[in-house]
């Protein structure tokens, strides 16, 4: 697994006033690999993701995308690079059908002004098919009628439809039942198998051990450990999350 990382963060920091949300964090993810990001509440997971997504501007450190140094200042930049973020609330419009949601903001047109519904429907089907999302009865039904797992699948499909190279999933299984969690984890695995780099945030270590290739553990804004699931135990990860060794004590930073 020594292919070049799709995304590499070196020594990134972010503070909000006096609060050091991220301190000198290194983070990498590679194509075909699921990188899990774990940590307790307030560990800096969301801040890190939002920094990558361009919602926050990182204060220090360097970001490399496919080996090239990049400067991410807005969500647009991220999308242009091929990074898609699926947030926990999914941001689907309940009243629109699956196709309309997947193409929202990027509709295909004919003659300049007409929505090209059939082409969009076909592409949506193709994407869903390629992800083996087969539990949806019709792509012309409103998203409101779908289960949590199906909605998550739609949100993920929407993210991967645009030739994205890195997909970030923020707690994709948090609100799901057992069977639906299963579906989503399978989907996550398939994304990586297709050659995408996947970052998944989750509190559920069981899920992470099942699907992740590597685990990055944050604690109080610092990276305390990186694990390979097959070479560690859940206890070890929990220990890192709750009592991992810090480089610097928060509040004492020069």
């Amino acid at each position: 697994m020594d292919n070049q990382p799709v995304l590499e963060l070196k020594g990134v920091s972010k503070n909000f006033g006096a609060v050091q949300a991220l301190y000198n964090v290194d983070f990498t993810c590679r194509s075909g690999e699921v990188m899990a990001l774990v940590g307790d509440n307030g560990a800096g997971k969301s801040t890190l993701i939002k920094g990558i997504a361009g919602i926050y501007k990182l204060d220090a450190g360097e970001v490399f995308f496919e080996g090239k140094k990049v400067n991410i200042t807005s969500p647009r930049d991220t999308a242009d690079l091929g990074i898609e973020v699926v947030y926990q609330d999914l941001a689907l419009a309940d009243n629109l059908d699956v196709v309309a949601n997947m193409f929202l903001g990027r509709e295909k047109m004919t003659a300049g002004i007409l929505l090209n519904e059939s082409e969009m429907e076909q592409e949506a089907l193709k994407t869903l098919d390629s992800l083996s999302v087969t539990t949806i009865r019709s792509v012309r039904q409103a998203v409101a009628g779908l289960s949590g797992g199906q909605r998550q699948a739609i949100a993920v499909a929407k993210a991967v439809m645009w030739n994205s190279k890195l997909v970030i999933l923020d707690e994709p299984t948090a609100a799901l039942g057992v069977a639906q969690t299963r579906q989503v984890l399978d989907l996550v695995r398939r994304l990586a198998d297709r050659g995408l780099a996947v970052v998944i945030i989750s509190h559920n270590l069981h899920d992470i051990f099942e699907v992740a290739d590597r685990i990055t553990c944050l604690r109080l804004g610092q990276k305390v450990a990186e694990f390979i699931p097959s070479e560690t135990t859940q206890q070890e990860v929990v220990h890192a999350i709750t009592a991992g060794e810090l480089d610097t004590v928060p509040g004492m930073v020069g």
């Binding site: 689907l92 629109l96 309309a100 929505l115 059939s118 089907l125 539990t135 289960s147």
Partner: protein, 419 residues
């Protein structure tokens, strides 16, 4: 196993697969599922309309059914249809516009003043154009205040209701002691007082049905070519025949009296224009998206505020159209223009037609169905000579019934996992 069956099986349970046509049974099944889930569509209104028509037909000893009354009904509903069409857009983005009736009145008063002989004396098209410009700009003003200041549309348009009614009062009393200004221009007067000759009535009817059939079959062909699910051919044919029967019957019946009123044709032209915008264009898609989930729309890169402003402009524009139709029908504008229950009726028409007050759901055509119900009730009560008190009570009950149906269908949608 046939080629087709293999294909569908391989594709798994996604319905829209393998270029097959849904069977009639499947189509009816999913339709029934939607009904049970609370997605009632136009069903309550059609039932309601039948009940209302039956009641007034019975109470009026059949006068309600006379061709003369039918044409009157079409005249009565034209203005409300136009205003309600604009209201639908505002409701779709989960906002409200309480100013429509008086904005329309400002438009019709502006037009009338510009038409005054021996004074401004503008040609009719310039006066109408100026009136439409004024109303559209009022919508822009409302939209800007609502989006820039972040004030609820309820409050802004309520202020508009008061302020624009004041403007109507100021303008009408300025130019007339009695507060009534007569419209003399024959073209504007003709809007609500002329009728399509029988031939042209039929011509429009045939053109509409053929146009609908052509688009329906074209879309079927496109979908079939791209291997997408197509609804059963029986349903397509049924819809075309149904449209032909309804429009044909309406034109025939109107022709036995004075003919199809020009005013309803004007309202329908605008209605179908906005229906097209709402269903076929990117703008229409964004309107629904903003109504369904503004945050999702924002993240999709949609300029939510522009969409909002545009919807208020559409609302005011259509209020202007409705105002002109109503003024033409009366032949004058006065201090009372835009008053009475016009505002409530136009909002009620949109809601009764099936547009949700909660945003994101409803069709532009609901304005037509709703206006038909409202006008039927008004017309029937007028025939019966009921006094204003009773009329207000009945109007209130009809509106309440519509809102209850909306709330009920929303709740059952929620409990069945939809919304």
């Amino acid at each position: 196993m046939t080629e087709l069956a293999k294909k569908t099986e391989n594709r798994g349970p996604i319905e829209s697969a393998g270029g097959r046509q849904q069977t009639l049974g499947e189509f009816m099944g999913s339709w029934w599922d939607r009904i049970r889930a609370g997605d009632l569509g136009s069903l309550p209104i059609i039932i309601g309309l039948i009940v209302i028509v039956a009641i007034f037909g019975y109470l009026s000893d059949g006068i309600f059914f006379k061709p003369r009354n039918f044409v009157n009904l079409l005249l009565q509903m034209s203005g409300i249809t136009a205003i309600a069409t604009g209201v639908v857009f505002v409701l779709l983005i989960a906002e409200i516009d309480l100013s429509t009736a008086f904005v329309g009145a400002v438009g019709s008063v502006t037009m009338t003043l510009l038409l005054r002989e021996g004074d401004a004396n503008w040609p009719w098209w310039a006066a109408v154009g100026a009136a439409m410009l004024v109303t559209t700009l009022i919508g822009l003003l409302h939209g800007l205040i609502i989006t820039r200041a972040g004030v609820p549309s309820f409050v802004v348009t309520l202020a508009g209701l008061l302020a624009w009614s004041g403007v109507v009062l100021i303008l009408t009393t300025q130019y007339s002691q009695a507060g009534t200004i007569v419209i003399q221009n024959p073209v504007v007067k003709g809007v609500a007082n002329s009728f399509l000759p029988a031939f042209w009535g039929w011509f429009v009817c045939v053109a509409v049905v053929l146009g609908y059939a052509a688009t329906e079959f074209y879309q079927r062909a496109v979908k079939a070519r791209q291997n997408l699910a197509v609804k059963p051919i029986q349903i397509s044919l049924l819809q075309i025949i149904g449209l032909a029967l309804i429009t044909g019957a309406a034109v025939w019946y109107a022709n036995t009296d004075r003919g199809v009123p020009v005013s309803i044709m004007i309202a329908l032209v605008f209605l179908f224009f906005w229906l097209f915008i709402a269903t076929r264009t990117r703008f229409g898609r964004y309107v629904y998206a903003v109504g369904g989930n503004p945050e999702a729309a924002r993240r999709a890169g949609i300029n939510v505020n522009s969409i909002r402003i545009a919807c208020f402009m559409i609302s005011s524009f259509m209020a202007g159209i409705g105002g002109i139709i109503l003024a033409s029908r009366l032949g004058s504008v006065s201090t009372n223009t835009g008053g009475g229950n016009l505002l409530l009726n136009s909002i009620a028409a949109a809601v009764i037609g099936g547009t949700s007050l909660f945003g994101g759901s409803g069709r532009v055509t609901s304005a037509l169905l709703g206006a038909l119900v409202i006008a039927s009730v008004e017309n029937g009560m007028g025939l019966m000579g009921w006094n204003s008190g009773v009329k207000f009570v009945v109007n209130g009950l009809v509106l309440l019934a519509a809102v209850l149906v909306d709330a009920y269908s929303r709740r059952s949608r929620a409990s069945s996992g939809i919304a």
